[in-house]
């Protein structure tokens, strides 16, 4: 058995075996652990190097709190819209033929990675001030998309653009759960006299709820940590927290504020960690019910 086979190398000094893992751990220590510690320690370091909670307290400043709020609204709304539309699309794919499903899941895998500068420019070309749709609507239907101000560079625009990569991500993470729903459950509901409505609200709905909630949380974390798309789209002002961090990194910092950027970064990590923790709890429940 494997245990016996293990016994031979184990008799040798462990040191030589450990040496083989040194390059990896050394590399990860320098480029992952040190940066993480820089953020965590920096967030609690005062200007004179002493421990201080001033940076973290600065997060409760009006404009930073607003930025955090907007980040959360943006992530929550884009996650909800993405989750609902993505779940509908996933259900449509489950009932579709094998070929359609294969092509669509491949496309979803690609589109979920599509973000950043190119996505921002895609939307600028579509509904930017001289974009394809903007111009077409204006010329043919005389509708002015921006009659009430240019919303593309503000929160509503960001939500729309984020939805573009949230829906495909939802399809990828929600499809396995839908595959876990067995046709026998529907047949059993029907043979007991249940209607389609009852099947969805009493059987499939509750069974799929943990998977749906978990996927929505994953989408939330995905939107919350996104930076490049918003950075390329919004060049003036910093409505959301990643853009505030950009401001803290690139502009001249006010004396005594050098570490506020790190406190903001720590705040982001805390939010993402909490959300991902909840996600893994729900994931466990999904595996139990639909695995």
């Amino acid at each position: 058995m494997p245990e016996k086979a293990l016994a031979a190398p184990r008799r040798k000094p462990r040191g030589t075996a450990l040496l083989g893992a040194v390059p990896f751990f050394g590399y990860v220590a320098i480029f992952l652990i040190v940066p993480t510690l820089v953020v965590v320690i920096g967030a609690f370091a005062g200007t004179d190097g002493a421990v201080s909670s001033a940076n973290v307290e600065a997060l409760t400043n009006g404009y930073l709190l607003d930025a955090f709020g907007r980040s959360i609204v943006l992530s929550a709304v884009s996650a909800l819209v993405g989750a609902v539309l993505g779940a509908l699309l996933a259900y449509a794919l489950v009932t579709a033929s094998g070929l359609v499903r294969r092509i669509a899941t491949s496309a979803a895998g690609v589109l979920a990675q599509f973000g950043g500068v190119t996505l921002a420019f895609a939307f600028l070309a579509t509904i930017g001030l001289s974009g394809f749709v903007t111009v077409w609507l204006h010329d043919h239907l005389s509708i002015d998309l921006y009659a009430n101000g240019v919303w593309l560079f503000e929160l509503p625009g960001l939500i729309l653009v984020y939805t573009y990569f949230q829906i495909p991500l939802m399809v990828i993470v929600f499809l396995p759960a839908l595959d876990g729903v067995r046709p026998q459950w529907r047949e059993a509901t029907e043979s007991l006299g249940g209607s389609t409505w009852q099947y969805w609200t009493r059987v499939a709905g509750p069974l799929l709820a943990p998977a749906f909630l978990g996927s929505t949380l994953l989408l939330f974390a995905n939107a919350f940590s996104a930076y490049a798309t918003a950075a390329a789209l919004v060049s003036q002002g910093s409505p959301i927290i990643p853009l505030q961090i950009r401001g803290a990194l690139t502009s001249e910092v006010v004396l005594g504020q050098q570490n506020v950027g790190k406190a903001m970064a720590l705040g982001m990590v805390v939010v993402v960690a909490v959300v991902m923790g909840l996600y893994s709890l729900l994931e466990r429940r999904t595996a139990k019910w639909l695995g």
Binding site: F31, L32, F121, L124, Y164, A231, L249
Partner: protein, 263 residues
């Protein structure tokens, strides 16, 4: 009962069509708009395929493209050199460390790139001090960024074969550890290594956050810069970069699928 099933099938088909058409328009419209937008100036596309003229007219863009290709290649090499031997070694000799390695590799998933940049800034002050401020130095950060994806691909490849038996067989025939890793295990996880490299290239070609905030250049940074001066050209380059990434990832997912099917 048969009538109910037929009706449900009809309903499902109608539902499917509505969803596909609505979301299809949503997903294809931006791509179509990019084609239309970039074709407004008839000079744009011919210029994009004419490399000497392109690097003459837009030197920043040419620099960005070259830098991105360099970064993609170097990151793939560094990732493979760092991760493949470690993953094999940990499986064979240090099984107790496996969970630690897995945890470290998946850690970047919970640390947003924008947060990583904040912590990397002081580290890169040292990198600049020792190695200069060339854009290729971004490779160090990118290797961390692609760790989760590359690790999962390689780990899946290693799980599919019996590494221990292969290693014991070759050891009993007198092979050294380097021979075991390079000539016995590696050829067996070729497709996993390939997909890890593909993912790495696709991710690096799309990276913007770290490059722009550490004041280095790559394709995405130069596209963003171009957007400020020439909108048509920037949309055309975006579309070209996008199609390249699509092709890479689609190839990857189709290759992965056919491998599963043939089993």
């Amino acid at each position: 009962m048969a009538g109910v099933i037929a009706r449900r099938r009809r309903n499902q088909r109608a539902f499917r069509w509505v969803v596909f058409v609505v979301l299809g328009v949503f997903f294809l419209l931006p791509l179509a708009a990019m084609v239309e937008f970039s074709a407004r100036d008839s000079q744009t596309w011919p210029l994009l395929v004419n490399w000497p003229k392109l690097s003459d007219t837009y030197p920043d863009l040419a620099d960005g493209i070259v830098a991105s290709l360099e970064q993609a290649g170097l990151t793939a090499v560094l990732m493979l050199v760092l991760l493949v031997p470690t993953a094999i070694w940990v499986r064979l000799r240090l099984p107790r460390l496996r969970r630690t390695v897995e945890f470290l590799c998946l850690l970047p998933l919970t640390i947003p790139a924008i947060v990583l940049v904040v912590g990397l800034a002081p580290v890169y002050a040292w990198v600049t001090y020792f190695l200069g401020d060339s854009s290729s130095t971004l490779v160090f950060a990118y290797t961390i960024l692609v760790l989760p994806y590359a690790y999962r691909a390689i780990d899946a490849g290693l799980s599919a074969i019996d590494v221990r038996t292969l290693a014991e067989a070759s050891r009993s025939l007198g092979a050294g550890w380097s021979t075991v890793i390079v000539r016995v295990v590696l050829p067996n996880i070729r497709s996993a290594v390939l997909s890890a490299a593909f993912l790495t290239v696709a991710l690096v070609l799309g990276e913007y956050t770290i490059a722009s905030l550490l004041n280095r250049t790559n394709l995405q940074v130069s596209i963003a810069l171009l957007g400020k001066s020439s909108a048509t050209m920037s949309v055309a380059v975006s579309l070209a970069a996008l199609l390249l990434a699509f092709a890479l990832l689609l190839l990857l997912s189709l290759a992965g699928r056919s491998r599963k099917d043939s089993k």
